[in-house]
Structure formats: structure tokens, C-alpha cells
Amino acid sequence: MAMQTERTLDVRPIPPREKHATIFATFDALAPGEAFVLVNDHDPRPLRYQFEFERSGQFTWEYLEQGPEVWRVRIGRTAS
């Protein structure tokens, strides 16, 4: 009965000041090889730059949908 199979983090309802911290906290909670799908209302390119600075070599980034209303990106933690 539980409605749980896929990890999706829709950040649209999250206040701006909490967004990036929430995304990084979610990423940091992943085990190696795991991933989540980020949903946003714009291209999260600045976030990707931040990942490249702060989690260099630790993440994968795959666009699943690129607008115009919604962007979906699968962000994964690389297997160590």
C-alpha cells in the first residue's frame, strides 16, 4: 500500500533560501550508486556549477526534461 518507489525532489514549493541546501542534503544522504530526480521550474544550471565546485567527481547529471515549464534532472552519486 505504501506509495514509495521513486525518489523525486520537487523543489518548486521550497523557499528560495532553503532550495540549494535541501538539494545538497538530499544528495549527501544518497548511497553510492543511488540517484534522485530533481524537479524545478527553470534550468538548474547554476546548481550544476555549484555541484562541480563542491562535489567534483562525485555526481552524475542527466536531463530528463528541459522545459519550457518544468525541468527534470536525475542527479546521481557516483559509485565509489
Binding site: 505504501a2 518548486r12 514549493p13 523557499p15 528560495p16 521550474d41
Partner: protein
């Protein structure tokens, strides 16, 4: 996880305006609260169970029909028929003696331990779902974690206060991000409806939902 708009956020709006607001914010669909004098007048339309000449065709998917209070058995069965036609579920605020199968049902609870225990027990014993509506102060203080530990196995819907336009202000409520991250990590696959945290916020919700802009991150382009 699917993000929905509750008609509580635009209580005077027609069904068409609610649908337009959903499309503008790229929301998956609606949670339609019945009664309470809401402007969509859905409850005033003759139900197709009783008269087949007034079938409502919603402008966007309706995921939940919310029945506040304790509906009479006839009301419950009537709306269960309509929910079934729409492919929606029924949100209840109190347990009922007879369940309208095979319609999906979820019992709403807050963070009060007694109400939570009752809702989870009833949902488990009846094979139905729960719906969590965290209070803003519980969101702020993180008390929702203990609630989710109990309700998550049956959780199908969350009524989330304090997002939307309320999240764009300098004194935006905190805790929404932590809750959303927790749901994501638990692979929650149900729905989350945006609701205002209090009536004083309704003008802000109306302005926010009816404009053609992003969600207010500061980097989204106007469309």
C-alpha cells in the same frame, strides 16, 4: 511525487480558473475541497450518479475530492461515484463506518499524537491511506519527522502549508525543504497539495497563481 493545487488556495475561483492556475505553475492537477462556500461550485452541479446530463469535465486532472466534516452515507456514496468517474480519491477528515470501495480513500490527520494514531490505525485496518497536514509550527520545529515515521507506510497525500507565495517573502516559513527532502529520500510517490497557511495569505496566493511567472527563485525567466 506529484505537486497539486488545492482549491483552498483560490477559494473563490471557478473550476476553469483553478485549471488555468495549475497550468501556469505546471502543477499536475487539483485537490478540490467540497463545500465551505468555495467558488468552483462543483458540489452545486447535479452529480452524474443522479442525472447524466450534467457531467463535469475538469480542465485539469482532479486527484482528490476533499469532504470536510463527517459526510452522511448518501453524500459519501454520491461523491464516491463522482470520484470514481474522475479517477480521483476521497479525502476524509473523520473515519466513516462504510467505505465506498473501490475508490481510493485517505484520512487527514495533523501532528497531534492521538489523531495520528487513530488515523494510522484506521487506515491500516481498513486498507486505505492517510493524508498528513503538518501545522506551520510543526514544520518549523521539525516535529513532522516523528509523524512521518508512523504515517509513511500508508501516506498517499500531503497538504503542505506555507509554500507558493509564502515562500518568497523575507520571513518565509522554514521547514518545507527538510520535509520535501525527507519525502524524496523515502521515495514517496503520492501527491502534495499546496495550501495557504492562513486566510490572511489568500490575496498573495491569488496574485501569485494568476500571474505568468516562475516560482520566484530569482533566476527563472518570465514566460
Amino acid at each position: 511525487m506529484k505537486l497539486l493545487l488545492s482549491s483552498d488556495a483560490l477559494p473563490t475561483a471557478s473550476l476553469e480558473v483553478l485549471g488555468e492556475a495549475c497550468r501556469r505553475k505546471a502543477l499536475a492537477g487539483l485537490e478540490l475541497v467540497l463545500g465551505c462556500g468555495q467558488g468552483h461550485h462543483y458540489e452545486a452541479l447535479r452529480c452524474p450518479v443522479e442525472a447524466d446530463d450534467e457531467v463535469v469535465v475538469p480542465p485539469v486532472p482532479i486527484y482528490w475530492l476533499a469532504l470536510p466534516g463527517r459526510p452522511r452515507l448518501s453524500e459519501l456514496m454520491t461523491w464516491a461515484g463522482e470520484a470514481h468517474r474522475l479517477g480521483a480519491g476521497l479525502l476524509l477528515w473523520e473515519p466513516v463506518e462504510e467505505l465506498p470501495r473501490p475508490v481510493r480513500v485517505a484520512l487527514v490527520h495533523g501532528s497531534d499524537p492521538a489523531a495520528l494514531a487513530l488515523a494510522v490505525h484506521w487506515a491500516q485496518s481498513q486498507g486505505v491511506h492517510t493524508c498528513y497536514q503538518p501545522e506551520p509550527e510543526v514544520l518549523r520545529q521539525g516535529g513532522w519527522e516523528a509523524v512521518l515515521r508512523q504515517t509513511l507506510p500508508t501516506l498517499a497525500h500531503v497538504r503542505l502549508p506555507g509554500s507558493g507565495p509564502e515562500g518568497q517573502t523575507a520571513d518565509a516559513p522554514t521547514g518545507v525543504g527538510a520535509l520535501m527532502a525527507h519525502l524524496a529520500l523515502k521515495a514517496y510517490k503520492g501527491t502534495v497539495a499546496l495550501i495557504p497557511s492562513r486566510l490572511e495569505q489568500l490575496p498573495a496566493w491569488k496574485a501569485w497563481l494568476l500571474r505568468r511567472r516562475g516560482w520566484g527563485c530569482g533566476t527563472a525567466t518570465a514566460c
